[in-house]
């Protein structure tokens, strides 16, 4: 297993290199020049050219890419063109809000989706199954920004239970930290809870129709044992897969939620960097994002072996 994990990690390095190259290429052909944004409306072409030189933007693309790659290999993600701050520091500043939001949203999605899916499969065609259909339809069809505004209106603006916006670091206390994340996490988790519930229900229905489940019933095994020990464990592979995909996708989906709740996370950092054409930040965040995908996929593959002993690497 360890050798497998190491091999996967080593294989990820060239993948990330290709991703970095593609992103650099895309940025290179995208119109827009940070020097012009910096220089402002009054600047002369000569001034803009001097700013480009001072930022190294006058260098050929392959030299800029090579320089950046060399920096990355030395553990340096570069410096922001605008703020003059190390990209690693800027990502670090934004990591806690995004990771906290992501973890809470994933926990909520699993906490809602898996039990709901199991219950709906167990009581197929009954009220809870219909309720799941309504929940999943709503989860899929209500955009995150609509759900976010609605939740903020009810629980923040009207009831004043929770803050409208902002993020409180965990260093200022667990409860203030949690309060600032409840609404965004619920917003973010709605659609993924619906997806997980749907997949769980389908997987459970498939397993519950198997002969060994019927045999367990015939032997008089108690229903919750059948459900959780025999059925859910065998239905777990697709559920783990969809959770893995969800974690990776949520990383990108945080952009909208962070904007609606003014959370200073990586999503907003990326959007601001794109607006300003702050290339080192964009490259740094994309690198981190691709690394996250690799780690999540690896984790999911390892989890397969834990939930299904028939799978081995």
């Amino acid at each position: 297993m360890l050798i497998y994990a190491l091999r996967r990690i080593l294989m990820a390095i060239p993948v990330m290199g290709v991703v970095a190259l593609v992103i650099f290429g895309l940025l290179y052909i995208t119109p827009g020049d940070p020097a012009m944004v910096i220089a402002g409306d009054q600047a002369t072409p000569d001034e803009i050219a001097r700013i480009r030189v001072s930022l190294g933007l006058d260098q050929p693309a392959y030299i800029r890419f090579g320089t950046w790659l060399w920096q990355v290999m030395q553990g340096d993600l570069g410096t922001s063109i605008f703020s003059n701050q190390p990209v690693a520091l800027m990502i670090d500043q934004r990591l806690q809000p995004t990771l906290s939001l992501l973890i809470l949203a994933v926990l909520l999605s699993i906490g809602i989706g898996v039990p709901f899916g199991v219950a709906a499969a167990w009581k197929r065609g009954k009220a809870i199954d219909h309720a799941l259909a309504i929940f999943t339809t709503a989860g899929f069809s209500i955009p995150a920004f609509v759900a976010g505004y609605a939740l903020a209106f009810i629980f923040a603006s009207t009831l004043h239970w929770l803050p409208v916006q902002g993020f409180t670091p965990i260093s200022e206390g667990f409860w203030p930290f949690l309060r600032s994340l409840i609404l965004p996490a619920v917003t973010l988790s709605l659609v993924y809870a619906a997806v997980i519930a749907r997949v769980t229900r389908a997987a459970m229905l498939d397993v519950l129709s198997q002969d060994y489940i019927r045999t367990a019933h015939a032997k008089g095994v108690r229903p919750y044992m059948i459900l959780f020990r025999h059925a859910l464990k065998n239905a777990a592979v697709p559920v783990v897969t969809i959770i893995g995909i969800g974690v990776a996708t949520l990383f990108g989906a945080t952009v909208v939620t962070e904007n609606v709740f003014a959370i200073p996370g990586l999503g907003r950092l990326t959007v601001d960097a794109i607006t300003h054409r702050d290339y080192p930040i964009i490259q740094g965040v994309v690198l981190l994002s691709s690394a996250t995908y690799v780690v999540v996929n690896l984790t999911v593959d390892i989890l397969y072996t834990l939930v299904d002993p028939r799978i081995s690497y």
Binding site: I38, I51, N84, S157, Q165, R268
Partner: protein, 530 residues
């Protein structure tokens, strides 16, 4: 438990949970913290290196100026104790007030002021004009220095005290000696608030603490002149880009001021008894159509005139501001409502006729050349104005292509002098504050030196350039005023750009704030909390 009792219990619990209702930022000692929803990001800490709005607002909190214009745009001493003019206007001696300190505790000296002026003068348009006249800077002593000019330049105090675009902020000598094209690495200021660099999260949050070593002037605040009093212990910016979230945060009391509320949310804010709306910048924002004079069809002066005949400023302004009280028709190249503005020569803007414009276009020989509009559609105001322009040009029979883009793309593409089919452009919409178009020195769009000298669009009108030089050389204000009018009359003939009116923007703030004053910039001194 019965369902009804359970629900009653829930409601009671909700009411009795005061800790739940506390806003996130109330966890800090927020008694004297001014919390501002800042619409633009603070991406850089060098207001000379970049003219980004966030950096300018940062500059006004963090740095001070030698001279600052009052509400009538008259320069007044700020860090300066005063100045004297000698040698028929060719020498200025500026003295500093006693006890001025930088945020690192070091005294502000002449040796700091001179490189600060030089650095600003290398980047700012008005500063560059001023530096053309500067022969030498001489330190007389730590609190007094001399500026020797090659010829009299009476606008020198106005240049040093300007409120628009880039301002002459005073930095420590070591910072001010940084190459003007390179960003400073420190944030040691001279102003009423000390920047808390450790708390800075670009794109999200910035904070300042009151600088106890700052000595404000005794005069009452007026424009950006007068006493800059730190009336709170802390100032915090939250960069909230979503308008609905910003409004909700202000209404919930999580924030105190919203610098640029969205126009479509004004009715909600007006109806809130805890919120006040105030036109803080009386000079407003002025919009214009910037034409490319180097490429067809707008390289033809008659076509520019024909287009101007079709302009009805009200059509443009109503598209961006629903409140008629905040709309101002302005048939001038200078900011209406300021001393320099007049309607001299503006007859072409009085026509307001599609039919006459069509006829004039035909007579001008328009042959269906494509008009490419660079539309910054990501910005709701500039996007709406671009759409109105597209519609107007179609109605007068022009072949129009509105190209949607973000600001960074537009900023790059407008540099192109190529034909439209090779990546060039025909026009774009831009907006400037009233302070940016006060006079020929600060109004960069009135430059008409052709390719290489003019602003984007590269208007080429030697008569206009000559008048501008005469204005800079003019010895007295009356002569300058006359030349300023002549410039406008000439500009309405060659149309370096077409003015399309102005709107006033309001700030929204909670009623417990005190000391909000009219100001051409987003300045947050003197504002306290009751």
């Amino acid at each position: 438990m019965k369902r009804r009792n359970f629900l009653k219990g829930l409601s009671a619990a909700a009411i009795s949970m005061p800790s739940l209702a506390a806003p996130a930022f109330a966890q800090k000692p927020a008694l004297k913290t001014l919390r501002i929803i800042h619409s633009t990001n603070l991406a850089s800490l060098d207001p000379i290196w970049t003219t980004e709005p966030g950096a300018k607002d940062y500059g006004f909190l963090t740095f001070d100026q030698l001279i600052a214009v009052d509400e009538h745009y008259v320069p007044q001493p700020q860090m300066a104790e005063g100045w004297s003019v000698e040698d028929d206007g060719k020498t200025y001696i500026i003295g500093l007030r006693e006890g001025l300190k930088f945020h690192d505790g070091e005294p502000v000296r002449s040796q700091d002021c001179i490189p600060s002026i030089r650095r600003w003068g290398a980047r700012d348009g008005f500063g560059q004009m001023m530096m053309r006249f500067v022969d030498a800077f001489e330190v007389i002593d730590d609190r007094k220095f001399r500026i020797k000019l090659t010829k009299a330049f009476p606008m020198l105090p106005a240049a040093l005290g300007k409120s628009n675009s880039s301002q002459c902020f005073i930095m420590p000598e070591r910072m001010a000696k940084t190459d003007p094209m390179t960003q400073v690495t420190e944030s040691i200021g001279s102003g009423p608030f000390r920047f808390l660099r450790d708390e800075w999260v670009p794109g999200a949050h910035a904070a300042w603490a009151k600088f106890d070593g700052y000595i404000p002037r005794k005069e009452p605040v007026s424009g950006i002149a007068g006493g800059r009093i730190a009336a709170v212990d802390r100032v915090e910016w939250s960069i909230i880009t979503d308008a609905a979230t910003a409004m909700a945060a202000l209404q919930a009391g999580e924030q105190d001021i919203w610098d640029i509320p969205a126009p479509d949310l004004m009715p909600v804010l007006e109806a809130d008894p805890n919120i006040t709306l105030f036109v803080r910048n009386p000079s407003g924002t002025f919009y214009m159509l910037q034409l490319n004079h180097q490429q067809p069809p707008f390289n033809n002066p008659a076509i520019r005139q024909a287009m101007a005949m079709a302009i009805d400023q009200m059509e443009f302004l109503q598209a961006i501001e629903p409140d008629p009280k905040l709309i101002r028709i302005c048939d001038s190249f200078y900011a209406c409502g300021t001393p320099g503005a007049s309607e001299a020569g503006s007859n072409v803007l009085k026509v307001k006729s599609i039919d006459k414009a069509k006829a004039a276009l035909k007579a001008a020989g328009y042959a269906g050349e494509k008009v490419v509009i660079l539309g910054v559609m990501a910005n709701p105001v500039l996007g709406a104005l671009a759409s109105v322009t597209e519609d107007l040009l179609r109605r007068i029979g022009m072949n129009v292509d509105l190209v949607a883009m973000d600001f960074a793309t537009m900023a790059q593409r407008r540099v192109s002098k190529e034909p439209v089919d090779k990546g060039g452009w025909s026009l774009f919409v831009t907006g400037w504050t009233g302070a940016d178009i006060l006079n020929p020195a600060v109004n960069q769009m009135l430059r008409a030196g052709g390719v290489g000298k003019g602003w984007f669009g590269w208007a080429d009108d030697p008569a206009l350039e000559t008048l501008r030089d005469q204005w800079a050389d003019a010895g007295d204000p009356a002569e300058q005023a006359k030349i300023s009018t002549d410039i406008q009359v000439e500009a309405f003939k060659s149309l370096p750009y077409i003015p399309i009116g102005s709107t006033s923007t309001r700030v929204a703030y909670r009623k417990n704030l005190t000391g909000i004053f009219s100001c051409p910039v987003f300045a947050y001194w003197n504002i306290g909390k009751s």
